[in-house]
Amino acid sequence: MIRYISQRLLALLPMLLGVTFIAFIIMKAAPGDPVGMFMDPSVNLEDIDRIRSNLGFDKPILIQYLMWLKNVLMGNFGYSLISGKPALQAILERLPATLLLSVSSLCLILLITFPLGILCGYKKDTPIDDGITVFSFLGLSMPSFWLGLMLILLFSYQLDLFPTSGFMNPLLYGEPFYKKAGNILYHMCLPLLTIMIGGIAGLTRYNRFGIIKILGQDYITAARARGVSESRILFKHAFKNILLPIITLLGLDLPGLISGSYIIEFIFSWPGMGQLAIQSVFQRDYPILMAVILLSSILIIIGTLIADICYAYIDPRITKKGKS
């Protein structure tokens, strides 16, 4: 197992080189650059050209990439071209808020969708299943920007239960931890709810199909024939098997946890990574963009690795096949 993991980790290096190189070229191929954005009659194009050469944009792309690579290997991810902040710092300072929202929403979604999906699949074609299905289609078809605004209008404006947006009351910075934590939770409710409504809908459908497929398998019929109790069939025999596809999904979701959601963050003024990443695309903030790409490729690779390991743990057949 350790050999397997170290092999996979070694394979990571050429993959990262390839990904960052391709990303760098695509990024540079996109028209425009951060300096060209100053559209202001009081700005002289000479200044723009001077800054461009200060930043090294006039060098060939390959040289620029090698310079970036050299700096990264020395632990320097560069400075944001917009804010002048170190790229790593710009990312790290947004990580807590991003993780808070994404991890808690993922946990809640999983906790809710498993029972819902199993219930749906098990009670297939009953009014319960139909009801939940209607709800999940509703949830799926509502765009999150609209849903978010509606929730703000209802819960914040009409009912005055929650603040419209933000992360924490700015005047609470000197206050004790529990007050701050409470205030953050209070601000988090509406964005969390918005993410959850969409997420629950999707994953419930996924779990429902999983359970229906598994309940139709021969070994379930065999277990039923042997007189195994229904709850044992569901939670012992079927449950582990619907975990498999979910693990793949979660493995691929790992980078999603840190990448945040632009739309939710934009509407709720949530200080997360989604805003940073999208803005750096539009502003052509290359150092930030490259750092985000590097980080998410590492996470995608690690995510699939973890998923593979979990597979082996849950389904012993997979490692055995690998060995034979």
Partner: protein, 527 residues
């Protein structure tokens, strides 16, 4: 299985309710809560170009001069200044006993340092050429701790307005690389408010500068919340979480009727236009451009898109500018006349097929504009409709901003576009050399390739002339010349619609200099 999440959710709700009380702190009488539409880039006036940064910098930094609500200049860090008879030397006497927010004394060296940094080629500022006149840099010389001499080799009227630039502290920046200095996130200035805290993507917190050299500000704290979404900001404003907000036209009447708020409207120093590529075979003919201008119903654009909050534009300035003439020149909206002019130029209008053609080729062109600016997108559609009526087929392409700008600014002749919809924000000085001078093509913002030697002369004269009345006459003539030539079809002057919570008092008359200017006069009342 279901028990755990339910209990967890219950706990969450319990926690929330226990902390609901915290949110009322913001109505504190000493806190002015405003909105920023985006994260500021750098809190350094010589490096930043975005408006959120300028909003914060305006409170933290001060310049030699400042802009009054009437858009006049008055001394700020300066006590007084004189201009030599030949207009080449400005002598500034600075206020004494001004302290930086960290307690250090402010002197003329800081002013010189600021301008030297701007002029330093390795500083990544786009302001450098503001202080370079025909290739020669303006000289800043310290005569003594509180006297500064500014010398240039020829008279240059726009310079005075550029002396409103915020002054940065030498003792902080001389030991760092200004482009990446930590102090760009943690600024030290001399302004009415001290920088206190900036939480990324959340807010900037400022505190009153008790040692301010002028009248100290009345409000103790300013929180500038970063709320990117306009809809959220409006709800936030109506919920009184923020005390000031821009109001979309469709909501303006409703907000104006609300007893909680005061509303204001004024013209921005800005205009929106359809720029015609004068090197394009179709638009190289002045009469064709004139006919197009006569075929576009600007009034319907203002009514349809701005819902009446604005007015049709005819010349390249703003109604708020002192150079705006009493009666600007413009071509009347008149389709018949337009078709007549086009016929004289050899264009044949086939009424049945509704096609305008010349030499059997139908007239078509493409308008490009940036995606995401709804007003411009709609304006393009209305123009398309207007021109369809005289048989011209217009296609529209919406582009992402960077790609759009890359096309417009590409250093080629001719440029690769037919027509663009764009807008300009104007400075306080009427100088518009970079937009209209023939030398600013193909490298420069005269990307439509406009060339008129009279306009070139007016631009040069306008820069040299220091007398305001004389300057006004020069620019009036220039505006008329440009309006007659139609390199742009000027579309509209947008209005700013702003709402303030009624607890804000001491507000200036509505104008582009801002309602909360000067901030020292603003105070909050109990409801």
């Amino acid at each position: 299985m279901l028990k755990f999440p339910l209990r967890f959710i219950g706990m969450l709700i319990g926690l929330m309710i226990s902390v609901v009380g915290c949110s009322s702190d913001l109505s504190d009488n000493q806190v002015l809560t405003l909105r920023l539409g985006a994260e500021p880039s750098m809190l350094n006036p010589i490096l930043s170009t975005d408006s959120p940064s300028s909003s914060v910098n305006g409170y933290v930094f001060s310049g030699l001069l400042k802009v009054t609500p009437e858009l006049e200049l008055e001394p700020d860090l300066a006590e007084s200044y004189t201009v030599s008879a030949d207009g080449l030397v400005y002598l500034f006497n600075l206020k004494q006993n001004i302290k930086w927010h960290d307690g250090e004394a402010f002197t003329a060296h800081d002013v010189k340092y600021t301008y030297d940094m701007i002029l330093n080629p390795s500083t990544n500022t786009v302001r450098r050429s503001d202080y370079i006149i025909d290739g020669k840099a303006v000289e800043f010389k310290v005569l003594d701790e509180y006297t500064l001499q500014i010398r240039m080799h020829k008279p240059y009227a726009p310079l005075l307005n550029r002396l409103t630039m915020g002054i940065i502290p030498e003792h902080i920046f001389e030991v760092t690389d200004i482009n990446t200095a930590k102090e760009n996130q943690n600024p030290i200035g001399t302004g009415p408010y001290k920088f206190k805290q900036w939480e990324t993507s959340q807010f900037v917190l400022l505190e009153a500068n008790e040692a301010y050299y002028d009248e100290p500000p009345k409000i103790k704290k300013i929180i500038m919340k970063i709320i990117p979404d306009n809809n959220t900001a409006l709800i936030s404003f109506e919920k009184e979480e923020i005390l000031s907000s821009g109001i979309p036209g469709k909501d303006f009447k409703r907000i104006a009727k609300n007893d909680l708020f005061n509303t204001y409207r004024y013209y921005d120093l800005a205009y929106t236009y359809l720029g015609l590529n004068c090197k394009h075979p179709l638009f190289s003919n002045k009469n064709v451009r004139k006919a197009l201008a006569m075929s576009i119903d600007k009034r319907s654009i203002v009514d349809g898109i701005l819902l009446g909050y604005g007015k049709p534009a005819h010349i390249p300035t703003s109604p708020e500018m002192w150079t705006y003439p009493k009666k600007p020149f413009f071509y009347d909206y008149n389709k018949k006349e337009a078709l007549k002019i086009l016929a004289e130029e050899g264009y044949i209008f086939d009424k049945e097929k509704n096609i305008l053609s010349k030499d059997d080729t139908p007239v078509t062109f493409k308008i490009i504009t940036n995606k995401g600016n709804k007003d411009r997108e709609l304006a393009a559609t209305l123009i398309q409709k207007n021109l369809k009526e005289i048989g011209i087929e217009v296609s529209i392409q919406l582009m992402e901003w960077s790609s759009f700008i890359a096309i417009v600014n590409e250093h080629v002749d001719p440029k690769k576009f037919d027509a663009v919809i764009l807008g300009w924000s104007l400075g306080l000085d009427p100088d518009a050399y970079s937009l209209w001078h023939s030398r600013e093509y193909p490298r420069g913002f005269n990307f439509v390739g406009y060339s008129n030697s009279d306009v070139d002369d007016f631009l040069v004269m306008g820069r040299k002339e220091l007398d305001r009345e004389e300057r006004k006459m020069i620019y009036e003539k220039m505006y008329e010349e440009i309006a007659m030539d139609v390199p742009y079809i000027f579309l509209y002057y947008p209005e700013s619609l702003v709402g303030l919570n009624k607890i804000i008092q001491g507000v200036s008359p509505a104008g582009p200099a801002g309602l909360l200017n000067p901030i020292e006069n603003i105070y909050l009342i109990e409801k």
